[in-house]
């Protein structure tokens, strides 16, 4: 019996069955992704000037500093926390909505009611080294939310600056009863 021929045939069966199971699971898991979805290669630029309208940097995700981010938070505009639920519970920017980038498929439907195509949406993640806020920004941009701001300092930058921190889970914060 040809050992290599047998092995190739067996390998093909395992690979095909495994791939089929993977795509079936991906379809029904709730956290699946469409591998063929449109990839948005939108530029990420530094914010032009504070308070400048979005038209100043059209078709771009804008990176903002702490001062500008604090202004967005104070104004009550939508702020998204792109970290994990556990990180969020330990502490987050007041009023922020949890949308873990890695659980995007599972949670995006529950977050979209809070989003507005016309309003700015600020996103942050752990700190300057994480890129989840930018990746999440690109996903939202692909959905048509063009006024996206990214605060690169992340939660680390926010906390180090002595800004207020809210604790608690997602539901409590959505109802505005988060513990501060």
């Amino acid at each position: 019996m040809n050992r290599f021929k047998c092995a190739i045939l067996q390998a093909a069966v395992v690979a095909v069955v495994g791939t089929a199971a993977a795509f079936i699971y991906n379809t029904f898991s709730g956290n699946g992704i469409n591998p063929f979805r449109k990839i948005v290669d939108v530029p990420v630029v530094e914010d032009v000037k504070p308070d400048e309208p979005a038209e100043a940097a059209p078709e771009a995700i804008r990176v903002i500093d702490l001062q500008r981010f604090a202004g967005v938070v104070d104004s009550g505009r939508v702020v998204i926390d792109a970290r994990t639920a556990a990180d969020y519970r330990e502490g987050h920017v007041p009023g922020a909505i949890l949308l873990d980038y890695y659980e995007f498929g599972r949670h995006i439907a529950s977050v979209t009611p809070y989003l507005d195509f016309e309003s700015e949406i600020a996103i942050y993640c752990s700190g300057p080294m994480c890129e989840d806020s930018e990746l999440l920004a690109k996903e939202l941009f692909a959905m048509g939310y063009f006024r996206i701001l990214v605060y690169r300092g992340g939660f680390e930058g926010w906390e180090e600056a002595g800004m207020p921190v809210e604790r608690g889970d997602r539901e409590r914060n959505h109802t505005g009863s988060g513990e501060t």
Binding site: M1, V14, Y25, N26, Y102
Partner: protein, 179 residues
């Protein structure tokens, strides 16, 4: 030759006569069985860490700068953990053993090359000595020293090769299907 013979190939006669080489071969077959269990358990565990988290795994693959965001990256991120899972299950169940060994040897050769590439990149860029390079390879076991990972993947290739080149297999359901 029938399709079933190809799929469940397990030429038990190749192990040899029980009276002549029984001890040596039986010993070898126990080693192969242990190798199967260890390798199977490792890949099932690794797969379960990645299944259902395609974006996270895609990001981990992107760290190697081999695939950028696109259909190929996402297809790999979706399919690879499941292929690993089925390989692990096949090894434990004792079916498609040579094919599974072939897949695992090929996968680990690719992993080894990618980790080597990334390690050399870090050494060149940051001047970090090999023994101190520490990162999460995206393998499902968290962050570890690169040299440990290189040894580990090399060991997995050898284990897969041992399975592939085994003359036949005991502890498989295939014997019942023969005949």
């Amino acid at each position: 030759m029938r399709l079933r013979d190809y799929l469940f190939e397990n030429d038990i006669a190749a192990i040899g006569g029980r009276r002549s080489r029984a001890a040596a071969v039986a010993g070898n077959q126990y080693v192969i069985a242990i190798v199967r269990v260890v390798l199977g358990a490792v890949f099932i565990y690794a797969a379960l860490q990645k299944i259902g988290k395609p974006l996270m795994f895609a990001d981990e693959i992107r760290m190697y700068h081999v695939l950028e965001r696109g259909p190929l990256l996402y297809t790999v991120a979706i399919a690879l953990p499941w292929i690993e899972l089925f390989c692990g299950l096949s090894l434990l169940a004792g079916v498609f053993l040579r094919g599974t060994a072939l897949i695992l040897a090929a996968l680990n050769a690719v992993f080894l090359a990618m980790i080597t590439w990334r390690t050399v990149g870090v050494m060149n860029a940051e001047g970090t000595p090999l023994m101190k390079i520490y990162f999460d390879c995206g393998c499902g076991f968290g962050a570890t020293y690169a040299w440990k990972k290189l040894i580990e993947d090399s060991a997995f290739i050898l284990m897969a090769a041992a399975i592939y080149f085994s003359p036949a297999f005991r502890f498989t359901p295939a014997r019942r299907w023969k005949g």
